[in-house]
């Protein structure tokens, strides 16, 4: 049997012998500008830190995510306890992280630190997952989690509520900057999953009417320190 890979690549090379003209545009120069506000035609991400924080909170609100701003770690722990109380959590899963562990350990309910391996059946029975994140993108209101920063792949998606604890210096202006940082930080090896979470899980499949909590978390909280 002929090798499918060679055959397909062969077909591609043959097809590309005839060139297609490069698209020409009225507007010129799309090269990266490398300013803090790169790609100045995409949605704005904010030039200054305060502008970025303002945009982030605006975007998260529109996405129906809950942002709680706190001055320090102690206040973050309190904020988490508060949510846990109002929601009457029985069982919470979290992953080990300097921002997350102290807050989760102080909760007055059953706690489970996701360790080297994860029991998916057990996780399914948890009310909430508490994680840290890689970055927050003010331009879009997105939160970047990874299999490294957020306790694997399932902790941030299977429980009904997802709480992210982060600091204001993790806020970046736009997607482009965020990718650059990720590549820099994980230069030797990328986490096997990187996921931009933009609001709680949603669907519009029934008559295009928005419903939150299709399969992933129905509620998303961001506790932002600083």
């Amino acid at each position: 049997m002929a090798n499918a890979r060679e055959e397909i690549l062969g077909r591609i090379r043959e097809a590309l012998k005839v060139t297609a003209p490069k698209p020409h545009f009225k507007s010129e120069s799309h090269g990266a500008t490398h300013s803090i506000n790169a790609k100045p035609w995409l949605p704005d991400g904010g030039e200054t830190e305060s502008a970025r924080l303002e945009l982030l909170s605006e975007n998260l609100a529109k996405l129906k995510a809950n942002l709680i701003r706190v001055p320090n770690a102690a206040a973050a722990n309190q904020a988490l306890a508060q949510i846990s109380q109002t929601k009457n959590w029985k069982k919470v899963a979290y992953h080990s992280h300097p921002l997350v562990s102290p807050a989760a350990e102080a909760l007055p309910c059953e706690k489970w630190e996701v360790g080297a391996s994860l029991d998916k059946q057990k996780l399914e029975g948890c009310d909430a997952g508490v994680t840290s994140c890689e970055a927050l993108v003010s331009q879009l209101g997105s939160i970047l989690v990874s299999s490294e920063s957020s306790g694997g792949r399932s902790l941030s998606i299977l429980p009904h509520v997802h709480v992210v604890i982060a600091t204001t210096d993790q806020v970046v202006a736009d997607l482009e900057t965020c990718f650059k940082q990720v590549l820099e930080k994980h230069r030797s090896k990328l986490p096997s999953m990187l996921s931009f979470i933009t609001g709680p899980s949603r669907t519009g499949d029934i008559e295009r009417i928005l419903v939150l909590g299709a399969h992933g978390p129905k509620e998303l909280y961001v506790i932002l320190i600083g």
């Binding site: 077909r11 704005d44 933009t198």
Partner: protein
């Protein structure tokens, strides 16, 4: 006359005569238009963003062999395995074998049009596996035993009462008219299935050559669960999905969301670069990617329409298309509906059988204006018409155009012909003539004026 064409004509005629259904579809799209405009307004220059998006895809597609090879090397370096499939049958066989090797019983799928293209579900069910579609819209369509209506909004034509009845019948749940409750029924039903499934099958929206990652865009979280819980993850992707780097993705991801669903970003945009890594607590043990050609290289070989491979399947061209809005998605009889489907289906499945779709267009160009990657959709419909005519010339068309050419280049003959035509029109209306009688079936022909335009022009002092 081809079979696909007859079915199309019949289905399209029935669907377009269904007034209430057309109103329902237009209402469903109303919210999309509003949100899309709000999000587009957040771009500092949407047109420049379109330029950049189209350039990103052009660059990758016109260097496809190298881009793919770079991608595959990186992907395999990360611990995934790549399988190449020349056509649908080969792709199905590869996937069936992977599932058999994994000794799997239950398979869970997240939304992926490419699996529709290769008719994977039929093959899996024939082989005895239980397959469940986890995207809510796809789940509903699977229960209905119907193909997706729209490749982004699969069940946008179904009313909540019908969904409620469907769930009562198949899942035994109490009837409800609330979209929220209906969604929760599906959520509860599918949850345990994820946990129990051995194999998860997903698509891919982008393949990133720079890093060897695959990127999956979704709103519900079902793809994330599908790629997290089962022990084997199989992704299926067309070869044209590859882009050069993450920087290109930083343009394409927001644009896909805005053009396709009026969102700033789709809820989950996830990059996967391998199976579970040492030190990670979960994830699949195996990660396979099936790269599908299935006639994409034929489209690639046509430089005039090569840009149709730039498509990021956002669905914007369907949402603005007057034809789609009137005949709906099922009438097309294709995996990819709407303008992009009419452009590419003749390449993927045969010009002779499928060129009629290119005729079903008002050539208004709304699709081309909507396309975030600037595919010249409505001109490609014309290109398909021309190609079809060149491949098998229509004798009537040829004679008609020759005759027309002859007459119109002779002013006196033209004037005389016009007079004859005006005079005989009442009679012509009644005889079944090709094209004319089909046109008149649903339209009134106004009575002919007494004078031709040229005569009127002369009389009104202009002459």
């Amino acid at each position: 006359m081809s079979n696909a064409k007859d079915i199309f004509l019949k289905e399209a005629t029935t669907a377009s005569a269904d007034g209430p259904q057309r109103i329902f579809i237009n209402k469903a799209l109303g919210g999309y238009y509003a949100n899309r405009d709000i999000q587009k307004a957040r771009y500092r220059d949407w047109e420049k963003a379109r330029d950049a998006a189209s350039l990103a895809k052009w660059t990758a597609v016109n260097d496809l062999a190298n881009t793919l090879e770079t991608f595959v090397k990186k992907f395999e370096g990360n611990g995934g395995k790549v399988h190449w499939a020349r056509d649908a049958a080969e792709a199905r066989n590869i996937i069936l074998k992977l599932i058999a090797d994994a000794k799997a019983k239950a398979v869970v799928k997240s939304k992926c049009m490419t699996t529709e293209e290769i008719h994977l579900n039929d093959a899996l069910e024939k082989a005895g596996y239980s397959v469940v579609e986890s995207d809510l819209g796809e789940f509903i369509q699977q229960l209905r035993g119907e193909a997706p209506y729209h490749f982004v909004f699969p069940c946008m034509h179904v009313k909540r009462e019908e969904i409620s009845a469907l769930f009562t019948k198949h899942l035994g749940t109490a009837p409800t008219n609330s979209p929220e409750e209906l969604t929760m029924i599906a959520r509860r039903h599918l949850r345990q299935l994820y946990v129990d499934a051995d194999v998860g099958i997903t698509g891919a929206n982008f393949l990133i050559a720079e890093t060897g990652q695959i990127s999956i865009t979704e709103n519900e979280g079902n793809a994330r669960l599908t790629a997290a819980l089962p022990r084997v993850h199989i992704a299926l992707s067309g070869i044209e999905k590859v882009v050069k780097n993450l920087d290109d993705l930083s343009v394409l991801l927001p644009m896909l969301a805005t053009a396709g669903a009026g969102q700033p970003m789709t809820c989950y945009n996830t990059l996967y670069s391998g199976p579970q890594q040492p030190g990670e607590c979960d994830g699949p043990k195996e990660f396979h990617l099936v790269l599908l050609d299935n006639a994409r290289t034929q489209l690639l070989a046509d430089p005039e329409q090569r840009d149709a491979l730039h498509c990021i399947r956002c669905g914007a061209c369907l949402n603005v298309c007057p034809i789609f809005k009137n005949i709906g998605g099922l009438a097309y009889g294709t995996t990819y509906q709407g303008p992009i489907g009419s452009v590419i289906t003749p390449h993927l499945r045969g010009l002779e059988q499928w060129n009629h779709l290119s005729g079903a267009s008002s050539l208004c160009g709304a699709c081309t204006d909507a396309c975030p990657v600037r595919i010249d959709l409505h001109h490609h419909l014309l290109h398909n018409r021309r190609n079809a005519n060149q491949a098998s010339p229509n004798l009537f068309d040829r004679l008609f155009h020759r005759g027309f050419n002859f007459v119109i280049s002779r002013p006196r003959l033209f004037a005389f012909g016009g007079r004859v035509f005006r005079f005989t029109l009442p009679v012509l209306k009644k005889i079944p003539l090709p094209y004319l009688s089909a046109w008149l079936k649903t339209r009134d022909l106004p009575p002919a004026p007494a004078q031709s335009f040229r005569e009127q022009w002369k009389e009104s002092n202009h002459g």
